[in-house]
Each structure stands twice: as structure tokens, then as C-alpha cells.
Amino acid sequence: MLRYTIRRVLQLALVVLVLSVLLFAWLRALPGGPVSALLGDRGTAESRAQLREALGLDDPIFVQYFAFLGRALTGDFGTSTGVSPGKPAMELFLERFPATIELSIAAIVIALIGAIPLGYLAARRRGGWFDNASVVGSMIGISIPIFFLAFLLKYLLAIKLGWLPTGGRQSAGLDATRVTGFFVLDGLLTREWDASLDALRHLLLPALALSSIPFAVIFRITRASVLDVMDEDYVRTARSKGLAKRIVRDRHILRNAMLPVVTTVGLQTGALLSGAVLTETVFSWQGVGQALAVGFERKDFPVLQVVIIAAAMAYVLVNLIVDLSYAAIDPRIRTAGKVG
């Protein structure tokens, strides 16, 4: 297991390195660039040249890359040129990352606690009205554009009905203590219950919007997987033992049906960032998704680089965790690992 983990971490390093080259080259091949973004049409030829030099954009691209890599390895990704000019990109990222993590965790938790029981029930009632309705629901969940859903939720529940806040992470007047950067958690840690509740109310709508795709995907995989497992011989054996319904369900059906679900959860968690860009924009959620959106608009290379590389690392890490938990559920993989 340890050797496996080490191998995976080395893979991660390689992935990130390759990605950084591609990303670096790709960003610089985009039309526009930070100079036009910063100066707009007003810049004179002279001021443009000055700025280019200040930003090091006149050096050959590989020189730029190695300079970037050297600094990046020490955690220095340069200063933001567009999202928050003058602020180190890393600092900006660290400030905003907890917001996105909080949002993503909330979305995945909603998806898991909702979709797995629903998927199980739909499978057990295959072909019934509940099954049909939830399959249609999941198709809508997968196909509805996430920004549309986000707008819809915001419009109905926040603007029209006024039940929930329209955006942001916490009400402005609240003077909450910061500990971890996860606002809901901070409130709990500091016993500022009102701050926690307020953060939760802000979190609900964006998390719901962001959870729509993972919810639908996890639902479908759970349903399909439970249907498969129910026909397995070992479930018949379990029934032949007269076991309690709950044990047949949890130990014999769900534990096996969860294997493909775990993999899906990993892939979906990784895919959350693209959803977060849209959701965070709609709900003015100060996370890295929003930084990414603004960063693209203003060609803020340092911010884009730190965010995208961090996102890739997070993706690979999440999938490492997923693979490890897969091995925890499935003994066949665990023992194969021991031998290899």
C-alpha cells in the first residue's frame, strides 16, 4: 500500500510538470495577453514595451518557462496582473481556495447523501413510477446548463421568495472570526453559531447548483450498479440464509454496489472545478473558480497558472484517495497490491 502510494505521488509530480509546460505555452499562445488586458487601447507603444519588459514577456518562451518553474517550486507564482493586481498569485489562491473547497465539499455531500439512497430505491422499484420519475429527473440534472440552474435557483429562492441570500459567503455585517477559511466550520469552532448558520444559508444555493451533475451521475451509477448486484449469486445466497433485510441491503448489496460509485465520485469531484467557475460567478462566491473566470478575461497568467496547476493536483489527489478507499472496500485489490 505504501509503495503504491509513493508511486502514485511520483505520477502526480510528472502529471503536474507536463501540465505546467502545456499550460504555459497555451496561455501565451492566446490572443491578447496581459499587456492589452492591462492597458486596453489606450497604451502607447512605449508604455506597452515597458510593461512587457517588466513582466518579462520579451525573453524567449523557454527562458520564461524555466524562470517560472524555478520560482514556482519555491511557491512563488508571480504577482497577479488582473484579478487583484499587485497581490502575489499564491496568496490570492490560498485566500480563495477554502471557499471553493467548502463549496465543492457541500456539493459532493449533497450529491452523496441524496443520490445513493435514491439510486438504491429506484433500482429496488425498477420500472415503477418512482424509478421512471427519478431517471427522468437525473436526465434533466445532467443536461441542464449549470449556470442556468444557478440563475434559476437564485431568481426563485433568493430574489423572488427571499428565503436565502443572493450571493457572497457571509452577510456583510457579521464580524465572524476566521480560523480555517471554511466559514461554516469556523463558526462551529468558535461557537459563533449565528455566523455558522449564516454561512450555511449562503452556501446552500450555490452548493445545490453545483451538485446537480454529480448528483445525477452518482444516482445513475448507483441505480445501475444495484441492479447488477441484485442479480448476483451471493445476494441469492444471502437470501437463502434468511438474513434481515437490512443486512442483505447494506452488507451484501450496497457494499458491492458502491465499488463503481466510488470511482465515479472521484471523477465527479475533479469535474467540479468547471462547474465552480460558473456557480461562483453567479453567486459572487469569492473562490478560485471566480478568480479563474476573471483571470481569463484579464489574461492574468500568474493567477491562471497557480489555479489550474492546483486544480490538477487536487484532481489527482482526490483520485488517489478514491483508489485507496476502493482498495479499502475491495479486498481483491488490497491483496493484489500486497503481492505486487
Binding site: 448476483e232 449469486d233 451471493y234 441469492r236 445466497t237 444471502a238 437470501r239 437463502s240 440464509k241 434468511g242 438474513l243 434481515a244 443486512i247 452488507r251 451484501h252 457494499r255 458491492n256 465499488l259 472496500i329 475491495d330 479486498p331 481483491r332 491483496t335
Partner: protein, 331 residues
Amino acid sequence: MALLEVRDLSVVFRRKGEEPTIAVDGISFDVEPGQTVGLVGESGCGKSVTSLAIMGLLPSRGVDVSGSVSFEGTELLHLSQRRLDERRGRDLGMVFQDPLSSLNPVVPIGVQIAEVLQRHRELSRKQARSEAAELLNRVGIPDPARRLDEYPHQLSGGMRQRALIAIALACRPRLLIADEPTTALDVTIQAQILNLLTELVADTDTALIMITHDLGVVAGLCDEVNVMYGGRIVERAERHALFTAPRHPYTNGLLESIPRLDAPRGERLVPIRGSVVDNIPWADGCAFAPRCPNAIEPCWSVTPALVADDGRMLRCHNPVEVPVTAGEGVR
């Protein structure tokens, strides 16, 4: 009263847009306490479906089960799920054909045995575990304490089947159904498993329904044998009578297609010609007629009834003559 009385059991599979499949077509038989009864026939004749119907393990939808299955006087077919679950695993146990797929791959063997003890004997987790080790020992698995924590994929095929037997016999059921318990195993292991089963059911006075397509298996251990063809019983006889003087041409064909110890050297084995796809519906005559060497005119038009004939039950218009030397067969 017999331990198990199966009366007119029929199972019909219905699928939308397809002809219904009559898998089991009105079969009746008894199992006395402690008795070993064989259910023999070619693939697809309805043996497994019969056993699943008795155990209440058929899918709940798309299947019509009719007739009666009475166990110790209780009608199993109309029992509520809860009442049925009180008896399955405790009074009725089942061993399945494929030991690998019949064990849960992600649950340790020990738990899969202990859970049935915890369910029916209200043992604590610890007691159930030590009893599970005891059971593994009894079915001949060495080092049982260590095996408890292993998973099915870590055991050999024979060991897995032993573990399944341990599960089925954990609560000392009154009836054990073994559905081709050796088919998935190596030949060398097959005999071991059969011996183990025979020993265990004799020790505990458990009645056994032995399902197999292999008359050789039946020869060694059954008191009475039911031969099935196309979802019906075509011949039932006490073992000795069946082997020495098969009356139904199908039984005879099965016997001629297996190697016999008392056969003269060089005698060829004769397979039954044709296959189940040649069957005609029972309603039009005898399903076996197209493959039967003894077929005569009525076989193609009149459905033969299962009738008593000299101490056995027989469903045939033109049975095999009783050989003059009957009674001398050695196996």
C-alpha cells in the same frame, strides 16, 4: 408426514413480448426426514428452478409459481417474507453450484458464516465467530481461525465450496438442497466434497435433495432418485432399482452415457441422440419422443401420465423391458 411434500409445483417465466417458458411443469415428490433424494436431468430441465421455488428464491416479478411446497406441514409458497426468512438458513439450507460467485467477494468468510448464526441462534458476535471457526474445522478447512478473516478469492475452489457447506449447515437445518455442488470443481475435489456432504448429512440426520446432471453422483449417495425431463418427472425409483433396471428410455439413455465399472472393456458409451431443443410440448405427447429410441405412435399424440409401476413411478408409453438379469448391477 413427510418432511417436505412438493405437490404439482409449476413455475412459469413470463416476459413481455415473449412466449412464457414453463420451466417446471407440475412436479410432485416427497422427502422423508434424513432421506437423500436425487433430482437428475439434463441442463435446462428445471432442476435449479425447482430448488429455487422450494427455497422461495425466485425473482418476485415475471414468475408464476403454483402448486404446493409443504415443509413440516407449513405451506412455504404462501408464507410471508418474514416467516420465510425465519426458516431459511435455520430449517432449510442451500448449497449452490458456483462457490466463487455464491460468496460475497468483499466480506470475510468468517462474517459470512457467523451472520447466519447470529441471525437464527441469537449468538453474540464473539460466540458466532468461534462457532464459525468450529464449523470451518468440521468441513475440513485447515487453520480455520486464520481463514475466518480471509476473503473468498483467497480460497481454492474446493475450500470455497466447503465454506458454503459450512454456511448451509451452520444452523443444522432439517433439509439441505445441494444444486450441482460439485459441477464447478476439479474432478479430484468433486469426490471429496461429495463424501463430506454425505458424512455431514448422515451425522446430523439432515435430509438432502441432491441436484445433478450426473447419475454417477446420485449412484453413490441417494436413497431415491427423481429423473426430470422438460420440467416433469419421468421416472422415480429407489436407487438400486433405477440403476439396475431403468425403465424410462431417457433414464436408460443417461445410464448408457456414463462410464460403468461393471461394463465389459471396450464397450462404447452411447450418448442420447439429439438435444433438448428437439423437445415437443408435453401437451402434444411425450416431450422426449423426438429423441427416444422406443418411440411409438401414441408418444406423438397422447401425453403419458406418471403412473405407479412395480414400486416405481413412470411416465412412458413404451418403457424399456426389464432385463432378466436385473439385480446384478454393480457400481
